[in-house]
Symmetry: D3
Subunit: 209 residues, 6 copies
């Protein structure tokens, strides 16, 4: 019966084999130059099951001033995500902790709470949208919206998040405003914050000027 | 000091208010006709915080022959996902259970295991990619790949999945082949399955012909 | 010789006429529901040359606290831009004036200075990019970047801007933080601003809470 | 054994049935308003096998001054193509016939010659690309390129073409220049054609002015 | 009169020449690394008319167990298709022959029958769509749908197909299930096929395990 | 207070720093090979404020037969535009001057008149759209439409244009038809122009054949 097999290969495989790595998935070759559509593809012959797995997606340390632990899996450390438009994050927040105001330009965030209570809020020029979430609640933060997350309950809170982008970026507001060398008076002028406030936070976040 | 506020509104708001609902998010009006780019947008004035929350993302019942429980949150039951390119699924599988062979055309699936052991496999014409995953492991199934999931450990296994599509579809192989009225001999011919096998599974899955 | 004409019509026009309005341009029917890909198309028969023109793209009034005048032409007031991925803005700033910190999620801004001196700056978590621009200088602000613009010279400054989106939105930072009803202590906590500062600006921008 | 079937339906179908018509295909409802992403979808319950078939894709009449017969199947007469990014055309050209200079903005054309000899040429500002094609030859005309086709052999020539767009448009050069009411002197000035030439062709193609 | 020409070049060509190869077409440099958006572009200076032609798009040999002959022209052997979103296939099937169950993830297939009778069918979880096609019939198989093709008439049948992708892939069901080393019992479990059936087809298709 | 700063870096920066250059902007490395999605990205460490500025966007010389001066800023000379979908052009036209018939495939043009009177017209197979524009008027030319621009007033006219593409191309009609080596009789046949007319313009524009 092997004859069917052999003939079958003859017919279909010129069409199939050489392309299998191209359209159906494209594990990133992280050593190649990044382009606007992602990384070039690793050769099919070098791809194994291990490429599609990410180990260590576990709770991160929270011993910091935000009481916040974040573990991320995106194309930079999980190259199989290249071109697939998705990535993941795991968050745990000790009681009283929070993630400060930030945005993810071009990446929607879908949060799943699995422990404790987490309040998520995003703001628009005319309103804000907010919810105290418990285990079994989902919340979606549309791409580019300024938002924050706080542990609003007792004990540690925990959740998972997925992003609609294999390579989400984060723009944390305090770092944008206070961690650079942009002159304090310009920041004060264009944010309408008091100059003293700007200088105080520049000192906190390592900015100068 | 309110004068600043008033003037500010005058300048910016003709530019801002009317558009805020359009580009920044577009909660689906599910009563309108679906188009290739999703649903038309619900009016901004009718959008509240509740639109961005999904309750009841909890473990589903597993008392079925697959010992499989699935809960999904996609645009059809969580309209805020409209246009955002992401959705979520929660899966729990009792010991010995599994999700049979299926594909999600156009949707990549990123699975996070949180309990027990789950083995995920996807197949290509020339190979297969597979891993036994434990809590803290992620696995990605590129869009359109035929795959299955089994509880390969002791006790119940559980996980979450995210899809790179707000409206993922599922094509379960047995339903494709055996739940319709396509003549059994045609299925046998074009799958190379034995006719008896086809007829037996047609009886299982409700197909005729 | 009209016979060529007549035959020609017969051949080509079944192919041409009915579609001309569809793919080649799609002037918005602003009365129809907005979708994720823009507005439905106005009927070809109702489209005239006037649809492709926008009058009154002139300098706006600057008698406000920012000494800033902005005129915009986007799909909402220039429906021919529907689906074309471009729009325009005209800005004039009196001496000492400025446009405060804001972002345009999903819209790149390309600024052309035609009078005076304008300094444009955008910030990232680790750096800032800035230039004092004079007549004949262009500056590009990539989509989603937090930025501001100041008149850094003598007399009135003026420029034009184009956006890579027919429907750009603006997220002005002060409005995001201080014009809503989000409790002041939550804003203070998650921005690390002092509570007094938050309350002072809430009073300015009309927020409460 | 039907119990497997019944349970299976319970698990998977809430996920499957309601969406099958949405993401996997979207047969156009041609009575609804066209949008930039195509037509809204016909209800799944009303879709039959006939929706996916187009009859009468046969050679068209060539008794016209171009000796050219064209049959097209695009979304307007084959609604199942909606959103699928492909359409087809069948061409036959009698000896001495041709298709005059035209472009398809946004649609690549892939031509297959099946009878006779067809010469296809497209032009760029600095070069032209051309080939006399016989049965078994393919030629690709990249989107937006000005091109023409001539029967360069003996007897009737025939071919098929596919377009990378479910709704290709055609911009025939003579119709663009000579079938409208744009003043002849403006056309002469901006094409550098002689005024007499412009007026002569305006008379042919039904233009005035 | 050459002076017009010379001046013209001076004005327009700095704008034109260097870019002509970039946006208007991008013939693949197949030696460079593939990226998610296709291959890098061959230098314009090296492109000739021959790049846009594919010879030998003729009927393939059918002396195999499927009585099936397939000739394909996609970016891998016709590099001018790079980025243009289209490719072609020619099929001929001897009496009694067929193409077995397969899918093309991400590629819609538009089939034109030119000889004999071909029956095309695609299946969904709840239905199937099918038609016996004769010369002059078109059929469209939406991207990702499981389908097969049989010669349902007398004598040889023949047709052409176009794909909405310059690089279509094929996932043949028997190869997915039976040509790899995935353990037979796992396949049997997750397809609900009998283990004997799986082992029998593994033997046919060269799989093991 | 620096302790906050230090901890903050620890938490967020593994997530932030390495990616900032990738998704948020991608200044072109013009020495690398162009791909269908643009140029690979310049390393973040080498990017300065100067990358985002273009100097010399000033009026170009008009001492040519068209009395036309054009200055362009696109990705080839302003690499920061890479991937951002926008570019700019500055035009000045002396009295009696004009820009001849041309198209920009894939690029919409939005023109702002700032001095004098400019008449813009684009043509379709069944109509034309036209307007005499004065300072403060905008006009949009949808992508791929054949159009021209004339100074229709007294004295010099001037304007700016933006394109919905970082790399717009221009297809000038006379160059397409008369600057190449395509045989004159073929051009005459397929445009329906008189052979004498074709030969006369071939002499002007440097074509042969």
């Amino acid at each position: 019966m092997k004859i069917i097999h052999i003939l079958f290969y003859f017919i279909f495989f010129s069409f199939t084999i050489s392309h299998a790595s191209i359209n159906d998935f494209c594990v990133a070759n992280l050593k190649a130059s990044y382009t606007l559509s992602g990384y070039p593809c690793k050769a099919l012959a070098n791809i194994t099951s291990d490429d599609f797995v990410f180990h260590g997606f576990v709770a991160a340390n929270t011993s910091n001033s935000f009481k916040l632990g974040i573990t991320t899996a995106s194309v930079a450390n999980f190259p199989a995500l290249n071109g697939l438009g998705i990535s993941a994050m795991r968050v745990n927040i000790d009681e009283g902790g929070f993630a400060p105001m930030h945005t993810h330009p071009g990446s929607t965030e879908l949060i799943i709470v699995v422990q404790g209570e987490i309040t998520v809020e995003f703001v628009t020029p005319t309103s804000f949208y907010s919810k105290a979430l418990k285990s079994g609640d989902l919340f979606v933060i549309p791409q580019g919206m300024l938002h924050f997350v706080v542990n609003s309950g007792k004990g540690t809170a925990a959740g998972f998040a997925a992003y609609s982008n294999e390579n989400p970026t984060v723009q944390q507001l305090d770092l944008l405003l206070f961690a650079n060398k942009l002159p304090s008076n310009l920041i004060a002028q264009t944010t309408l914050l008091d100059l003293d406030q700007v200088k105080k936070l520049k000192a906190h976040f390592g900015g100068s000027g």
